[in-house]
Amino acid sequence: MTDLNLLPIEYRKQPVIFRLLVFVLLIMLLFFFIIRFAILLPIQKQEQAYQQLILLKESTNDGFDFDEAVHLEQANIEELEHQIKYFQETKISTPGYWKTIYKTILNRLHYNTSINQFSCENYTIYISGTSINDEMTANYLRSLIESGLFSDVRILKILYQQDGRVHFTIQCNLNIYMN
């Protein structure tokens, strides 16, 4: 009966069972944190993000699928382009449009140069006429190019007559998008 130990409890080494218990508790706590923050929380966040995505899709597309909406938009754009083209073509057919063309062709004629024939196939125009020499024909060709209403302006045919006059045929394409 001489086992009295006056070392206070707080200074004594804890028994093995207590230390084991503390160790197990610490391990459990560690596992809890690992499971909570490394597994459960990411899954939860993923689910929340997925739900948010669904809600966002519903609110933005109003029930339609996004791809479907894109297709619809593209169809609308194509429709509009068709309409613009139609209106442009319609403009070409109007008398006002052709008045400008004729005026240009006639106003650009030089002295002693005349037009005998004018024809149009699709957007290609053929102008046949007579001038006193080929220099005047070339001037006329240049003035047509400078008008900006025509492209690919070239002399298709040129005939020199006995009296020195020149019979010419000019081919050019209409610049349909030019106003």
Partner: protein, 315 residues
């Protein structure tokens, strides 16, 4: 199963010198080294831990013991209670002592016996001034050691007597017997039998008085004689049956030859120095003086007992 050797240090923290024994425990106690160093030398240095490692020991696990007048032992009879309530009841008892003695206590208790018929627990409790105890514990930390237990020095001597009885048939002792520890600043007198302290009292007078006062010897002898008589009277008054026949004297003061002679004249019992037991103890270094190292050795026997019983755990 392999028993890993455990190294322990036993430290008797005196007011003048620190006595220590280094020991290794495997199957039996093996004393490796022992010695002492002056307390002043340690705590006057800037690095006490370093000084201690240099002049003392490098062992970490330590059982300490010290003398102080605040040490009290009590025998309590507790009845009609659950075993688990014992702690609270002892705590209440010590709270009462604390109130009476105006001193906070560190204490411990053991159940000495339990009578099933009466339901009475016989409790042995001991306490020491909390402030003093913590000071000594902190000193061991300061010296870089880990205190594993605080032993009661009288119990250490009981273990030595028990060890001698178990080891040698030639050794005889008249029990109960008187123990007188003549320390440098404290003197402790106790009446013991083989398993317990029957009575104990300490006073704050030690052999240092011989250096400090011209008539120090007279005062010292008078105080010791008074203390011994008080405790013997208390013993007779309390137990009134057996006569004390033997006394062991140890500690630094026991080196003064005149003391044992004069005590012999005044108190008619058989007086012995503790180193008388040395020859009956196993595996002791031949030059070890039990009068100085008795407290240390007894604490090591405690560790040995614990180690043998629990294979190394000392809690």
């Amino acid at each position: 199963m392999i028993n890993l050797p455990k190294q322990f240090l036993s430290l008797d923290m005196g007011n003048h010198s620190y006595k220590y024994i280094e020991a290794q425990l495997s199957d039996k106690l093996k004393i490796i080294r022992y010695g002492y160093c002056m307390q002043e030398q340690l705590f006057n240095s800037n690095t006490p831990a370093k000084t201690w490692r240099k002049v003392g020991s490098r062992f970490k696990n330590v059982v300490i013991s010290f003398q102080h007048k605040s040490l009290i032992t009590r025998e309590l009879e507790i009845k009609d209670c659950d075993k688990y309530q014992l702690h609270n009841i002892v705590k209440e008892e010590f709270q009462q002592y604390q109130y009476d003695l105006k001193e906070e206590y560190d204490y411990d208790f053991i159940v000495q016996s339990y009578d099933e018929k009466t339901g009475i627990y016989m409790i042995k409790a001991a306490g020491i001034s909390k402030k003093v105890n913590r000071e000594y514990i902190n000193k061991t930390f300061c010296l870089g050691m880990r205190p594993k237990a605080v032993d009661i020095q009288v119990n250490a001597i009981i273990r030595i007597i028990r060890k001698a009885l178990n080891h040698s048939e030639k050794y005889t002792v008249q029990l109960p017997c008187l123990l007188i520890d003549l320390g440098y600043s404290n003197t402790t007198v106790a009446i013991i039998n083989l398993n317990e302290i029957i009575a104990l009292k300490s006073i704050a007078i030690g052999c240092s008085i011989l250096n400090n006062l011209s008539d120090g010897y007279k005062i010292y002898l008078k105080e010791i004689t008074l203390l011994i008589n008080q405790i013997i009277d208390h013993y007779f008054y309390r137990y009134n049956n057996e006569e004390l026949q033997q006394a062991y004297l140890y500690g630094g003061g026991s080196f003064i030859n005149l003391i044992i002679t004069q005590l012999n004249d005044q108190i008619p019992i058989r007086w012995n120095l503790l180193n008388h037991i040395t020859q009956f103890l196993p595996d002791l270094p031949s030059d070890m003086d039990l009068n100085l190292y008795g407290n240390c050795l007894g604490s090591l026997y405690w560790i040995e007992e614990k180690y043998t019983n629990k294979k190394g755990s000392l809690t």
